[in-house]
């Protein structure tokens, strides 16, 4: 009897792990992995309605081919022109830098064939992306949704981080009303992105918006933000910056308030001025938080869709259209294969840039 109980107990102990882990694994499989596989199949197929229902026809890489080399190329990659002198110089400088990094890596003690291969792949893809940017943005062409998305991500995050850090530093000072401003600075984040888009749609309307008297005074009544590609992109970026700076602010504020005061006091005793204290003590201390914060915002920023959709409908032309908006428009018109292909290219891009970013900052954070 005792031995049977022991056997039962050991059996239960052996399967307990499976019993606990498998429901979670199945849920993850069901909610994350299966949709990923299904959308991969969708990106390789064409959706059609037929009598009695619908069908998916396998078309191989046709949807990707359409985006990268076919009828959607101008829309996705942009209209490419021969590289300008400035563009060629920028591209050349970056190539030289990448080559120098590879040489340095070869001379370092960490060299391995796998590491070299990984770097070559990443550099090649980064080089291709830069080549597209150079031939569209810097050479008189127009950027497609890929480059527009990259512009949104890098400009927005840079400005959001700088503003968020400045505001966080401001409210950590002993200023009157700082508690009030802590709440006020958070408000934009609590508004739905569609609401933000409508607010900025009103603000940028020069003919009847709340800034009408100002535009009128400046003689800009016949000017429209949304008629000029960079004006429209600026409107979208200002809206995004306004909405997401509070996120940077709140996380950086927590990091600043959590930093070790002993180090700062020691630096002050040693005669460090405010700038030196910030640059040598404060910034390194918030760097680990910064790394995670920028990564989260970057992944999120790649998916920007609400603002350009409501504010400009992706226009003028396709000037403000992001990759997600392009995928959404394709999905809305039941081009499910095309939509899934864009989504997969976006996934690929986000993963690549996130991996590159982590590789770069991990070493610097470790060094710091």
């Amino acid at each position: 009897m005792h031995s049977r109980l022991q056997r039962l107990s050991s059996t239960m102990e052996r399967i307990a792990g499976h019993v606990f882990i498998w429901p979670a694994v199945l849920i993850v499989l069901f909610l994350a992995i299966f949709p990923l596989i299904i959308s991969l199949y969708l990106s390789l197929s064409r959706f059609q309605f037929v009598p009695g229902g619908f069908q998916f026809t396998f078309v191989g890489l046709a949807n990707y081919n359409k985006l990268l080399f076919g009828s959607e190329r101008n829309h996705f990659l942009g209209q490419m022109m021969g590289p300008s002198l400035a563009g060629a110089l920028v591209f050349g400088a970056v190539l030289v830098f990448m080559a120098w990094r590879l040489v340095r890596y070869g001379q370092s003690g960490r060299f391995s064939a796998g590491g070299l291969f990984q770097r070559l792949v990443v550099d090649a893809i980064f080089g291709l992306l830069l080549w597209v940017v150079v031939r569209t943005l810097l050479s008189g062409g127009f950027p497609g949704t890929l480059v527009v998305t990259l512009v949104y991500v890098f400009v927005d995050i840079a400005v959001q981080y700088c503003l968020g850090l400045a505001l966080a530093l401001l409210v950590t000072q002993r200023l009157a009303g700082r508690r009030f401003f802590r709440v006020v600075f958070l408000l934009p984040m609590m508004i739905t992105p569609v609401g933000v888009a409508y607010i900025f749609r009103m603000l940028t309307d020069t003919t009847k918006g709340p800034f009408y008297p100002i535009w009128s005074l400046l003689g800009l009544l016949n000017f429209s933000w949304v008629n000029i590609p960079w004006g429209a992109r600026a409107a979208v970026m200002i809206g995004d910056i306004w909405q997401w700076t509070p996120f940077m602010f709140i996380v950086l504020l927590a990091a600043l308030e959590g930093q070790s005061m002993e180090l700062i006091e020691a630096a002050l005793v040693d005669g460090a001025n405010r700038w030196q204290t910030f640059w040598r003590i404060t910034l390194p201390q918030v760097m680990p938080v910064t790394t995670t914060l920028i990564l989260i915002r970057m992944i999120e920023a790649f998916k920007i869709v609400d603002l350009p959709n409501v504010l400009t409908s992706g226009g003028p032309g396709t000037a403000t259209e992001s990759m997600t908006l392009q995928a959404y428009i394709a999905w809305r018109t039941l081009d499910l294969g095309g939509s899934a292909a864009i989504a997969y290219l976006l996934l690929f891009l986000v993963t690549l840039i996130a991996v590159m970013y982590i590789n770069v900052v991990r070493r610097r954070v470790a060094e710091a």
Partner: protein, 522 residues
Amino acid sequence: MNPRLLAVVASLAILSMLVGQPVVHAGSPPPQQFQGVTVNLLTFTGPQIAEPLQRRAPDFEKLTGAKINVVIVPFSDLYTKILTDMATGTNSYQAFVFAPQWMVDYITPGYLEQLDDRIKADTAIQWDDIAPFFRNFSAVYNGHIYTVPLDGDFHMVYYRRDILEKDGVKPPETWDDYLAIAQKYQGKDLNGDGKPDYGSCISKKRGAQGWQFVWSFVTPFLQTQGTAQGAFFDTTTMTPLVDNDGWRKAMEIFKQTSQYGPPEEMNMDVGDTRSLFVTGRCALSLDWGDIGSLAIDPATSKVIDKVGSILTPGSKEVVDFKTKKLVPCDATTCPNAINGVNHAPYACFGGWSGGINAAADPKVKDAAYAFLSYMAQPAQSSVDVTLGKTGFNPYRTSMFKNIDPWLKGGFSEAAAKDYLGAIEASLNSPNMVLDLRIPQNQRYLQVVLDTLMSQYLAGEITLDAFQKQLYDGWEEITNELGRDTQLAAYRGSLGVATKRGNLINRTVFSAPSPFGRRGLGG
């Protein structure tokens, strides 16, 4: 009829008149027949189109007991929402009010209910009173009726009659005239508020109605020989009629109108341009019939009795498809020209129409049909078309013959005749351009054309690139869906016999005049 039943019907009719409720007509469902039945009806956010449905749903519930839930989604999502609801078997909606050119995609998989028998049995709807174009084209596919027309749609040009008459300027006959007039009034104060106004207001927003207005500019250059000629594709090869000088000239004019319009024009939908026009800020506008009824609304309009409406302008030059160049209009090249000008009024959209989900419960389908019929019956529809807020435009013969509802609605007699005359001229035109109604027409127009139009207007692409990419984009879709299938559907939609000699769409069309010579006006 049974005397007791007659007495009940008569009492009900008198009672409903006394309390201001709509009368129950012969053919309408018996009172409370649909007690406990709920119909979810999907349409777009509006406020037009949804407004009359929402306003009349409680009246219908009092009459029949059926509860009508009007669910609204943005216009850009409506096509997909309807299709995915039925395709996935969700069937959360039992009725839809939508664009009739989409019906081909709903009918092919068998999602839409055929309405032939219901229409035949329904005397109250007065089917024969519906104008032939809407009755025989908009509502019909493959010889069967699938939708109930609730609206009539044509593009037309509106102008400030008071200002043009004062200056001795004739309304535009051609698009060149339109440009000249727009230029003349750009920057002038047109409503006396001391602010400069605009020569022309046309919605050019991407994802809205901009691409539809492109067609009204293009069609007079392309279609000359009557409706059956078609303006979208070659009816023998299904190649796009895009790579010619007609498209070039039309797109140049379309882009030039932006110089004489509001600065935000590229981000304006028709709601915005209508608002500008009725507040007196535009000398000209291109729109459906809506501005006519909005302009007489004393609550919002500053141009009551100051608006004229005309057939969409035409062209004195048309495309010779052999050379793809423009040639002057003469008796051969423009047999339907008026004063040497080829007009090709575009029956854009075809008018909002109601359809029923074939997978719905039979009782719910009955209630859904009864509601659509109720909305279309003259007692309701002849009032609704006179109200700007409904977005419904005239589509019944009686609406053109009897102007009393228009006078009651606030039109002056002159304004009513002018407005109805412009629509009637489009309806009677032997060279009317039918909307594209082939499988996935939405991709051809709302994806490819809309995106390229927006890129061209924004200066992102040249006119050459626009034409090439439009041609390639349409060809890509045609090749993907099957050239023969698309060609057969296109020919069928124009009333041209297919290769087998049968008509896909059993309409009354026969070139040159699809509607005979019968006028609709009184």
